[in-house]
């Protein structure tokens, strides 16, 4: 058992960009543990995608091609990748921590008597073996997790934890792998992906965004932040729980399941900063956080912070903004 195997993700021939970050992580892990890195992409008719991977510094590119892998299913992907892993026999399998990976990778790891060490944010090498860092309690604490047992080990990598631009170019040999799959082992029937409706609100175009989270406590308090958005000429956005509760429409949600924004200024009001939210806004040029908990993870990414009660700070801010605008 040797080598790092990175499982790339594609849909309809388009890469999930997190795959590249994971591939970079795989190269780094391989280099630091004295192993080679290889990669695999699964689907139907993926020759061109495999060709693209062949220009990276890798040992091998596995093109896992089968008619039954055209549309993603947990059963199909698990069966196909199980066969590949048994053949390639890597010591470590890495995935991007996408929604799709969350759907099948735990199942795949179980087949090897292993646990997926999910949503990791970094690693260090201890005695030749990797130890992974991951977040606990929505980012309030970190933990170092050491894989055990005979392996292979399985880990997924958080969005933004590694940089795709650190990926090293080179050349790799493409190997076609045709898994042995039959239609009757695929129990779920996936229908075509869809979007709920055309988005009436395009947050991505906003220069300033005032975003509100759980700290606002109840629906009746929403006008407090609306007032601030108005004063600043900003779009109003929210973290997921606010939209889940129906306090603001879903189309104003920022985060992994909502919109990804990179405005000039992002004001996070009463948002603790769970990773699902951070991935949607950490590209903002300036981040301001207003939160009563000085340990809230939002302060990890904020340029300016006010530790205090939003019900006092936000009205004061509205007044100051109005004064400054004259």
């Amino acid at each position: 058992m040797s080598g790092v195997l990175v499982i790339m993700e594609q849909r309809g021939g388009a890469w999930n960009r997190m795959s590249w970050e994971t591939l970079a992580a795989g190269q780094q892990l391989a280099a630091q543990t004295g192993q080679t890195a290889s990669t695999a992409v699964a689907g139907q008719g993926i020759g061109a995608l495999a060709g693209e991977l062949a220009r990276k510094k890798l040992e091998r590119v596995y093109a896992v091609d089968h008619a039954l892998l055209g549309a993603y299913t947990a059963d199909g992907y698990t069966a196909a990748l199980e066969q590949l892993i048994r053949k390639a026999s890597p010591s470590l399998v890495l995935f991007p921590h996408t929604y799709q990976v969350r759907d099948f990778a735990p199942k795949l790891a179980t087949r090897f008597g292993q646990v997926l060490i999910s949503d990791t944010i970094g690693f260090r090498v201890d005695g030749g073996a990797p130890v992974f860092a991951r977040q606990l309690f929505q980012g309030k604490l970190n933990a170092d997790v050491k894989p055990g047992g005979a392996g292979p080990y399985f880990a997924s990598v958080q969005a933004g934890a590694f940089r795709a631009d650190q990926l090293q170019d080179g050349s790799a040999q493409v190997e076609n792998f045709t898994p042995d799959l039959s239609a009757d082992e695929i129990r779920a029937k996936p229908l075509d992906p869809f979007r709920e409706s055309a988005r009436a609100v395009d947050l991505t175009a906003a220069e300033i965004i005032v975003s509100v989270g759980r700290g606002i406590k109840e629906k009746d308090n929403i006008p407090i932040v609306e007032e601030l958005a108005k004063a600043l000429g900003a779009e109003l956005a929210a973290s997921r729980p606010i939209c889940d509760s129906g306090w603001l429409p879903m189309e104003r949600q920022v985060g992994s399941s909502g919109q990804t924004v990179s405005p000039k200024v992002y004001l996070a009001v009463g948002i603790s900063g769970a990773i699902q939210h951070l991935v949607g806004m950490k590209g903002a040029k300036t981040i301001v956080a207003i939160n009563k908990d000085s340990n809230a993870p939002i302060f990890e990414v904020a340029d300016y912070g006010i530790v205090g009660d939003l019900f006092e700070v936000v009205p004061a801010l509205v007044e100051e903004v109005k004064k400054a605008k004259g």
Binding site: V115, D192, E300
Partner: protein, 256 residues
């Protein structure tokens, strides 16, 4: 429809967390606990499915003695009965061990559907449901935003990234992991709280289920994250801090 909802008890949100003396976990003695939020949505979905199609909802919980409070609340909301796998030292099990315990306890009930939250607010591994399904040999689907019956099976709405969704049809029995916001949570009624006292809670021990802790992944240490960005904290009263921020927005960020 016989539905098992697997629920977990976690520290209440906004708890002030302190690392324990071993450095492997947090100090739990001075914390309050509540149902893991996505599990609350899973329970609600189970109750709504039962109301629509008839059947039974069984709350399944692995946790120490204190978890009985969360189980009572699930019964008060409308679960018919509960199974409590009692284990004081949960950290000795990894996700696979935990899923094995839950799967073993669920198996003998022969449920049509097993629901659980998509992830826990404490460990956040997000895989217990999927691993349970694999152990039980059942199909699974994750991050579910709607469940309806379709013929002899179900049609579920999976959330994908960036506002995309996908419907998936699958046979029963099956395991689903439920996303927060799928429904509107109910409160327990006074009548429900009264009734809960008479409902059955079956208590099991890990040893009775034939599962021992043999973790494949071990938490070596727990620590505070290191700040990567220098946050400039604006001090003072609300008014003073607000004035300082406007100053920054005007002269440094230049958006006012």
């Amino acid at each position: 429809m016989k539905i098992i909802v697997s629920i977990k008890q976690v520290p209440v949100r906004d708890s002030q967390l302190r690392i324990d003396a071993s450095g492997h976990w947090i100090q739990e003695n001075d914390l309050s606990f509540e149902i893991n939020e996505p599990d609350a949505y899973a329970l609600e979905e189970g109750l709504q499915l039962k109301e629509k199609h008839g059947g039974e909802v069984i709350a399944l919980c692995l946790g120490p003695a204190r978890a009985s409070q969360t189980i009572r609340e699930a019964l008060a909301k409308g679960a018919d009965r509960a199974i409590h796998i009692e284990e004081e030292n949960l950290t000795s099990f990894d996700t696979l061990g935990i899923a094995k315990l839950l799967a073993k306890a669920a198996e003998s009930e022969k449920p049509d559907l097993i629901l659980t939250g998509l992830q826990s607010d404490d460990l956040g591994s997000g895989q217990t449901g999927v691993v349970m399904a694999e152990i039980l040999g059942l199909p699974s689907a994750t991050i579910i935003m709607a469940v309806e019956t379709a013929g002899s099976g179900i049609r579920v709405k999976r959330e994908l990234e960036d506002g995309w969704f996908q419907n998936v049809e699958m046979p029963l029995p099956a395991v689903l992991t439920i996303q927060s916001g799928i429904n509107k949570l109910r409160y327990a009624t006074l009548m429900g709280i009264k009734k809960a006292k008479t409902k059955e809670i079956k208590r099991l021990r890990p040893a009775e289920l034939g599962v021992t802790a043999a973790p494949a992944a071990i938490i070596e240490r727990v620590y505070l994250p290191q700040r990567t960005k220098q946050t400039q904290i604006l001090e003072g009263s609300a008014k003073e801090a607000a004035a300082k921020l406007v100053e920054k927005l005007k002269f440094e960020v230049r958006v006012i």
